[in-house]
Point group: C2
Chain length 529, copies 2
């Protein structure tokens, strides 16, 4: 049945004539068709380089009601025409994260199959709690988790997991499960009966998270590694001061000898180490911690080894790049966000746990009634008691449908392309005047970090004066970018290094011409500073 | 621009010809149009009483690949035609939660505006982290939270909040914030430096959660109240045994005098009470705890009063029913899930906190850099540091768009209708032979609990033999319902009461004829037992 019969404006205005109202079919079809036209126009526009990446307005401007776009909530219903106008305005004043020149975030792109999947999920409107209400989605989740576990390198006899609302929650699960593994009594008796536990993670991102408020133009940088570990430590009652920060080398990789000595020092201070977070793909540099060396240390000290591969996990799909995660198979748990490098629409994050059954034991309530007999199907597929939350959004289907449409090979090719873009940018930066790499080596992931030095600063001697001025360059260029809306890229300082740009590639729509455009635009916007 | 130009099958098969591929517009339009046809057909079918509510298959049947529906993940891409077939199959073997005869869950219905909103959200593909990437959605969230706070009854000077991935996470936030309010040092130092804290909640749902595995046909019953409080206590390191269960009356309402004595007893055992969870709308009975009396006790003992109005919050929209939440304005925090009684697609849950700033103080990292100067807009709109998780799915827009389309009045009318359905069922149960109410009073919420006694049991004397047989009736009828797919309703035991049906109404599509059908169908499926 075609959706196209409906023409003209709505004969009646109000929502109560839509389905499930009797004879609501025609109006519902018309309304949804109009909406899909708006969405399709947006999708096309997102892929056009001539479109703006964003049409920036300050909060007070949007709140005052631009061109009649009124955010306030009415007592009386609006007309369906007005609802469609509201939808158009919502998109108009938003940010086009699918634009080939949106480099601001680890998650970008607008995958048509993934979007289609999310449309289906919302139409099915169910949750991942039990097989009874989500038979198909629950099985798809299981198929995906097993596949991801086998790609990580775990044997078929091991591996468990669950999809979570984002990487921080996935990391939180890993600490929760690790704590329960070593101290199962914590579940009933609480932290009061435990020793003072210590958690270890790389220093590299700690500098970032503390800059949240100052550096919001690059909003995602502090999300993972240190940030999520500290957040989790606060939530779980472990305390942020018991998160031990381990030194990194100049590439941002955790130094194994430093980890070893941190553990010893922490023990001397009375902490009981139990958990090490290794990062596969840091947010700023895209660094991969040396997983095998870290695994050796964890093994020696009997510590839980978690790998936060939220950003780097996608590289496992590529034959060319997966060796960068060498040793991940030795992890006891892994966070992997397909909504980042694999382009799945937000959100899609998985926590994988090597030891089967631990997730359930840690989170279930009521196991004593496990074997009651009046069930009608095999309840081992009911995931409800594996998770903290009960109602879980169906995130797995997006990844499942994209996997069908692309195949493992398609994901691999997509990852390869993003890393080729990073290499192209790396090459260009070395050739062009006024640009300087933050570190000289070829990028391992798709992150490329660099300074732009305007002509007025090029003659200055190195030192604090030049640093102070250079520190202001990236924010000023970014501000101009946002006003102009032509391109979007993040920046931040790191340790002693003043503000620099970080470019990341996760959108397969991006081509070399977009990278050239980015560099040209930075010069256009910044040469007079 | 119409989406209807595209006709015929796909000239090329693979996903790489979709946008953002150059000249991918036509194929993308055709693909999305086909998908929308599938979704629209599903939406229409969901509202037709002649359609099945579900087409049940056991896990092994689905895994074996019914009619070529293959769940496994390929190396090579599938064709776009196959992707559409996969989408059709995914819906075919799922559960139609929008069907007017789906009574299984607190969340049901298929709201066209809410669905349209979710389609837009997934197309926009962004997160709620900062104003920079979600300018419009962040402001909508703020407008919604303020509105909800004013409906709860807080003054304009107070109130804070955030949308969360489900009610359990919202409740977890409430305990997290309460703990921080009384013991801010917990954030950095952990639970080790705190006394043994006690949490109080009603007993009424504890019986339920322990039956998870036995009673999965009614999967949602144990989600809230006790269940989520215990889950949170485990996660936060408080320990489940420090959750004190307070006795309820026969209607399922917490008895204030019992709360008072529980507090004293807990103190004598060395626990330090700090948090009371009152429930506005329990999952089984739909009971409302006496909020004013509980608030008095919390005030007297200086305890944090949380109201879990995940299920009952919707009644605040109705002039006729909002007095059932009398006293909610005295709560220090409130959980309210618009995805339940207000029909917003899953998920949409809010935690509201009376004391402004506490959420941020509790969860932020890096406040010391609050006043750096290189930002380009007012960063007080950046919500990232108010939440545990960083990337948050855009849930607020669904509620916002539905509010525009229905108005406050439309939500009120929707709630009134669901409660009228409950009263109709209540009346019918009293008139029909073979049915018995679990409690005699008129329902306060849309929950109605009842037994069906088949003719063979009606002559039996009351006692353990009859109980044992009656206990098996509901599961058997439910099993037959699932096989037939005509209607879906939950059941569970409670305390000493053997298995009974719980009917809940949250879908405005349900009419009196559906309630008649439900009772007729129970007789049809159960009269021979």
């Amino acid at each position: 049945k075609s959706m196209c019969k409906y023409t003209g404006s709505f004969p009646v205005s109000f929502v109560c004539y839509l389905l499930p109202a009797s004879s609501g079919e025609e109006i519902t079809r018309g309304f949804l068709q109009e909406l899909v036209n708006i969405l399709f126009t947006y999708i096309c526009k997102s892929s056009q380089r001539s479109s703006k990446v964003l049409d920036f307005h300050h909060p007070h401007q949007l709140k005052e009601g631009l061109d009649g776009f009124n955010l306030n909530l009415p007592d009386q219903p609006e007309t369906l025409e007005q609802i469609l106008v509201d939808c158009r305005d919502t998109l108009k004043y938003g940010v086009s994260t699918g634009h080939p020149r949106f480099f601001n975030q680890l998650s970008s792109g607008l995958d048509v199959i993934g979007t289609a999947a999310e449309w289906l999920i919302s139409t099915a409107n169910t949750n991942m709690f039990t097989y009874e209400v989500s038979p198909v989605f629950i099985l798809m989740e299981e198929v995906l988790l097993r596949k991801m576990q086998s790609i990580v390198g775990w044997s078929s006899g091991e591996g468990d997991g669950i999809f979570c609302p984002g990487g921080t929650i996935s990391n939180l699960y890993s600490i929760l499960v690790a704590r329960y593994h070593f101290y199962p009594e914590v579940k009933t008796r609480g932290m009061g009966v435990l020793p003072q536990l210590g958690i270890f993670t790389s220093e590299h991102v700690i500098t970032i998270h503390t800059l949240l408020y100052g550096q919001l133009h690059l909003t995602e940088l502090f999300i993972y590694s240190h940030y999520s570990v500290k957040k989790s430590a606060a939530v779980l009652g472990l305390g942020t001061e018991n998160v031990v920060v381990v030194k990194c080398d100049e590439r941002g990789k955790m130094i194994p000898a430093e980890l070893e000595s941190s553990i010893v020092t922490a023990q001397e201070k009375g902490l009981v180490p139990f958990y090490v977070n290794a990062t596969a793909g840091t947010t700023v540099y895209g660094a991969f911690d040396p997983l095998d060396a870290i695994a050796d240390i964890c093994h020696r000290h009997s510590l839980w080894m978690h790998v936060d591969a939220a950003w780097g996990g996608g590289l496992l799909m590529s034959d060319r790049h997966r060796m960068k995660l060498q040793g991940i198979e030795r992890a006891w748990s892994v966070t992997w966000n397909p909504h980042k490098m694999m382009g799945v629409p937000l959100q899609c994050s998985a926590i994988l746990v090597k030891k089967r059954g631990l997730l359930r034991q840690c989170n279930e309530l009521g196991a004593e009634y496990l074997f009651q007999a009046d069930k009608h199907y095999d309840v081992s597929y009911d995931t409800g008691d594996k998770s903290i939350q009960c109602g879980r959004h169906v995130d797995a289907f997006k990844l499942w449908l994209m996997w069908k449409a692309k195949g493992s090979q398609g994901f691999g090719a997509q990852v390869d392309k993003c890393l080729e873009n990073a290499e192209y940018l790396y090459d260009q930066l070395q050739r062009r005047t006024g640009f300087e790499l933050v570190y000289k080596n070829k990028p391992e992931h798709s992150n490329v970090c660099f300074w732009y030095t305007p002509p007025s600063l090029r003659g200055l001697p190195l030192g604090p004066d030049r640093d102070t001025r250079l520190h202001q360059v990236a924010p000023q260029i970014k501000g101009r970018m946002m006003e102009k809306g032509s391109v979007l890229i993040g920046y931040q300082p790191l340790g002693a290094k003043v503000n620099f740009f970080r470019c990341v590639f996760s959108n397969p729509a991006t081509q070399q011409e977009d990278i050239d455009f980015l560099l040209d635009e930075i010069i256009r916007l910044g040469h007079d500073l």
